[in-house]
């Protein structure tokens, strides 16, 4: 079943079903707390250089805001890159609200949002000055101890 098979005017719950099927068809990695990440397209991963505007350290999802020049079909501008979870869980992964600072040059890996806006699912960032890579793993403590 594909989305194209849906009638042009979907009711709200039919859209929800379509979104659920889409999620099943495109697994989104180990983390998707609070809301689905199905609005991001894992089949079109992107990597580009950008400058950190801010790390929005808020629950339920932290957001990395970066300024980038033109990237492919996208015009230069501000991107919102949504992290998969909350400051509480990110802290357990070694993140902090100061791990990225305004002005930091970074190379980011993202899955872009499907609707073409400058937004995406954050996957990792490499800080150009230090080479340090900030990634996302499983939430520590949420798995049985080995």
């Amino acid at each position: 079943m594909t989305l194209n098979a849906e009638p042009p005017k979907m009711t709200h719950h039919r859209r929800q079903i379509a979104a659920a099927l889409l999620m099943l068809a495109a697994p989104l990695g180990p983390l998707a707390a609070h809301h689905s990440f199905a609005m991001f397209d894992p089949t079109k991963p992107m990597t580009f250089e950008a400058t950190v505007k801010s790390l929005q350290w808020t629950a339920p999802h932290a957001i990395l805001w970066v300024q980038a020049g033109p990237v492919g079909k996208y015009q230069a501008g501000l991107w919102s890159l949504e992290l998969p979870t909350s400051p509480g869980n990110l802290s357990k992964m070694g993140w902090s609200r100061t791990v990225l600072k305004p002005g930091d040059k970074v190379v980011v890996d993202i899955n872009p949002i499907r609707d073409g806006r400058r937004a995406g699912q954050f996957k990792k960032a490499r800080i150009v000055a230090t080479g340090k890579v900030l990634g996302i793993g499983a939430i520590p403590g949420t798995q049985p101890p080995k």
């Binding site: 009711t11 719950h13 350290w57 400051p87 802290s91 902090s96 609200r97």
Partner: protein
């Protein structure tokens, strides 16, 4: 010496660590022992629920006014006037937590205390958000804790008095004297509290509030809470945002919450659909 016993493993860890020069970044708390739990029985009994003394709240506001800075007082006067004119500012209608110290200063709902080894937890009604974690395990105030609504609280028992210091409160958190009058603390607020029983069923919070961005001096005030033991006073789940929804049924027959139409925090009848308005 439960406190020393709790700190010893940290000391041993620090001495054994090859990275001696580096501070311990993730101390490990030992499992509490039977003795740790027994020690709680020697602390003041804070069981039951505690209802705020609202008469005293109002009296405190009138007789011991907040020492607002002159330019802040202008804002407060405006808010007072607007409220009197029937246009109250809804400080808390967004359902974000009251934060400290406003939670303790103006709540009209009961609170309760949970005492556990190394911790005092204060829970309020209306959201799991209305809660405070106070660490009494001997830890120092962290150097730069993440700012939060209720801040980072470190406490200790001075005899039968719980002494608490709270820092790292988000600058947007109101220092409020009512649900319609309050000013964001704007940063650097520090709260010192002495919490103790004054008789068998009366509890007092003695507060010293330093909010250098908005106050001329330390505001010393107090709030009184009365103990209830009746089950009718037990705290019920209160979810602030539940009022933003009404009960509905989807086309599958499932029970769902459906958003209600609101404007400025007031629940209103739905506006006419565009086609009907034409």
């Amino acid at each position: 010496m439960p406190k020393l016993r709790r700190l010893l493993p940290l000391l041993a860890l620090a001495l054994a660590s090859p990275a001696l020069a580096q501070p311990a970044t993730d101390p490990v708390d030992p499992a509490p022992t039977a003795a740790d739990w027994s020690a709680i029985a020697r602390l003041p009994d804070l069981s039951g629920t505690w209802s705020p003394d609202i008469v005293d709240q109002n009296a405190q506001i009138k007789t011991n006014p907040t020492p607002w800075k002159p330019e802040i007082q202008k804002q407060v006067d405006h808010m007072d006037a607007e409220e009197k004119a029937g246009r109250p500012k809804g400080l808390l209608i967004d359902c974000l937590p009251h934060g400290s110290p406003t939670f303790i200063l103006i709540t009209h709902n009961a609170i309760e205390f949970l005492l556990s080894p190394g911790r005092v937890t204060i829970l309020g009604e209306s959201d799991g958000n209305r809660l405070r974690r106070i660490y009494t395990d001997g830890r120092p105030m962290p150097e730069d804790p993440d700012p939060s609504f209720h801040g980072y609280s470190v406490g200790h028992w001075d005899g039968d008095t719980l002494v608490v210091e709270t820092k790292a409160i988000l600058p947007q958190v109101y220092l409020a004297v009512s649900e319609a009058v309050g000013i964001p603390n704007n940063g650097d607020m520090v709260i010192r509290e002495r919490i103790h029983l004054t008789d068998a069923d009366t509890l007092v919070f003695e507060l010293e509030i330093d909010a250098p961005k908005i106050l001329t001096t330390t505001w010393k005030t107090k709030r009184i809470y009365h103990r209830k033991r009746q089950r009718s006073h037990e705290i019920l789940e209160g979810v602030c945002r539940q009022g933003d929804f009404h009960d509905a049924t989807d086309t599958w027959g499932n029970a769902i919450f459906e958003p209600v139409y609101q404007q400025d925090g007031n629940v209103l009848p739905s506006p006419p659909a565009e086609s009907e308005a034409e």
